[in-house]
């Protein structure tokens, strides 16, 4: 057994002496790592989901802006856009919001024309006037199933009943959770939308490279529009769930700061007892480097075991228990929050970054304060 291992042995023995203190530190440390890793896992999974799933989104969405507000877009804009070279199909989309003041939820109402069966739908899409299809989240929240009827109050204050003909499966919840699909003609009647207008236009562009040029051209030819490219949509989600930006960074950094306070407290709190021990070890023949190695082992033992444990807890929390603890934090006051049935998407770089951000500062905080005591002459222990 080499000297290093023997010193590790002593490090573990001396940590076992201060069980309570070390367990408390490991508990806090593990919790911090678990929180941070949960955030990383959750956001990375959502980011991955968005990046994969929203690839199917329209290449370009063209909105109309009126006095800076999102406004209905005339259908003849679609014909004009369709004439541009490189543009495939231009589909007018009809959709809107319906606010439930009791549950405080905004439902998304979407008009469908195409009755061909989409994947992940039980039942069928609404075909005739008084039918609808719902997202799983709504069905679960209100406890309804296929065959029941949805009661909506339209823009003229009439109460309308829609028979539920289809329910989306929970596997599509991240997309369809709050969705209510109505036949497009019915949705127009419901919102009293004129036939000549649409909510916005979904534009198909064959060549990905040409999207930005087309967006510029559309903006030039139709100055009151605002084209949004698919890449912008993807970029939006990339940004929202990027661990280095926005809300995630806020949560992340506050957890990290809390952790630094813990480490700092431990560091500055090197006790007289510990000082005396360092003196004794030096007096009986330990070198400065041996003492620092001892402290390094202590730091490593705490940080590595906490890091591993915390990461495992985070993984189980996010991917086995559906982010039960973190979910409500991200969800805010959303009532209709999708049940996270997330696909693990792990970025090893992030895990290593997390390891670097937690293990290294902790070891530094353990070793550096001991330094000063380790380099002083051990004769002080003779005079105490």
């Amino acid at each position: 057994m080499s000297a290093r291992l023997k010193i590790l042995e002593h490090a573990l023995a001396s940590m076992a002496r201060r069980k309570q203190k070390n367990f408390a530190i490991i508990a806090v440390y593990t919790l911090t790592v678990a929180t941070l890793a949960s955030i990383l896992f959750l956001t990375q999974a959502l980011r991955n989901e968005a990046a994969n799933v929203l690839l199917g989104a329209p290449d370009l969405v063209v909105q109309r802006l009126l006095a800076g507000h999102h406004d209905l877009i005339p259908k003849q804009y679609a014909e004009q856009i369709a004439k541009l070279p490189g543009v495939g199909k231009v589909t007018p989309r009809v959709w809107g919001y319906y606010y439930d003041s009791l549950k405080k939820v905004n439902f998304t109402l979407l008009g469908v024309n195409d009755a061909s069966e989409p994947p992940l739908l039980a039942g069928h899409l609404p075909t005739s006037g008084r039918q609808c299809a719902l997202g799983r989240g709504i069905a679960d929240t209100y406890g309804v199933e296929i065959g029941d009827s949805l009661v909506l109050v339209d823009s003229k204050n009439r109460t309308l009943l829609y028979e539920i003909t289809g329910l989306f499966s929970h596997q599509s919840s991240l997309l369809t959770n709050d969705l209510i699909l109505l036949p497009e003609a019915e949705l127009r009647r419901f919102f009293a939308l004129p036939d000549s207008q649409a909510s916005d236009l979904a534009v198909q562009v064959y060549n990905e490279q040409e999207v930005s040029t087309l967006a510029k051209k559309i903006k030039h030819q139709l100055p009151d529009t605002r084209p949004i490219g698919k890449m912008e949509i993807l970029h939006t989600y990339d940004t929202v769930f990027n661990w280095r930006s926005g809300i995630m960074l806020t949560i992340f950094s506050s957890a990290l700061i809390a952790f630094c306070i813990l480490a700092w407290d431990k560091a500055t709190g090197i006790s007289a007892e510990e000082k005396r021990e360092i003196g004794i070890l030096k007096a009986i023949g330990w070198e400065t480097s041996d003492v620092l190695l001892l402290k390094f082992w202590e730091g490593l033992a705490v940080s590595l075991s906490s890091f591993l444990l915390g990461t495992i807890i985070a993984y189980l929390h996010i991917f086995f228990f559906g982010a039960g603890v973190l979910g409500p934090v991200i969800q805010g006051w959303s009532v209709l929050f999708p049940k996270f049935d997330l696909t693990p998407a792990i970025d090893l770089y992030q895990i290593f970054a997390l390891a670097g951000l937690t293990i290294i500062p902790y070891i530094a905080c353990t070793v550096i304060p001991s330094w000063k005591n380790a380099v002083t002459d051990p004769d002080s222990v003779m005079r105490s």
Binding site: P85, G86, Y206, N207, E208, E210, T213, K217
Partner: protein, 154 residues
């Protein structure tokens, strides 16, 4: 009677498109014989030469394709231009493989392909002009007008 002629016409069109040689799609391992790059990541730029013996070569852009075309017969390939059945290029706007005589080539534009400066194949003169306007194209030519000197350098 008119319906009959119409039907015959349809049949003729259909059969001609059926019998004309159609280009195959490249598999994942296909490389460009000029620059050695893989084809499949750059499908939007792909060009292909279909020979009369049914063999087919893929290129990662019009530029490389025409370099090869003008080099025939070369030290690795003894075939001549007469052995070529058809040349297909990917139309910039529709991202479909189309026969080269349906396409115009826009030179000197600001759009670059996998190999840098590129000649961009566009269907129809109108669209070619639009493209040249949008992307600062310098010159529009057809395949017949192409000479080795016109191929962009890099």
């Amino acid at each position: 009677m008119r319906i009959l002629i119409y039907l015959l016409l349809c049949l003729l069109l259909f059969s001609s498109s059926c019998f004309a040689k159609q280009p195959q799609q490249p598999d994942k391992k296909e490389r460009c014989p000029v620059c050695g790059m893989f084809i499949s990541p750059y499908r939007d730029w792909m060009g292909t030469i279909l020979f009369k013996d049914d063999s087919q070569l893929f290129f990662d852009g019009a530029k490389d394709l025409f370099r090869y075309y003008f080099s025939l017969p070369n030290k690795n390939d003894s075939r001549t231009r007469d052995d070529i059945a058809e040349i297909y290029l990917t139309d910039y706007y529709s991202v479909r493989l189309l026969p080269v005589n349906q396409l115009f080539l826009v030179l000197g534009s600001d759009v670059s392909g996998p190999m840098g400066h590129e000649m961009i194949p566009v269907t129809g003169e109108e669209a070619a002009k639009t493209f040249a306007k949008d992307h600062n194209g310098q010159k529009i030519i057809s395949f017949e007008q192409l000479t080795p000197q016109l191929i962009p350098k890099d």
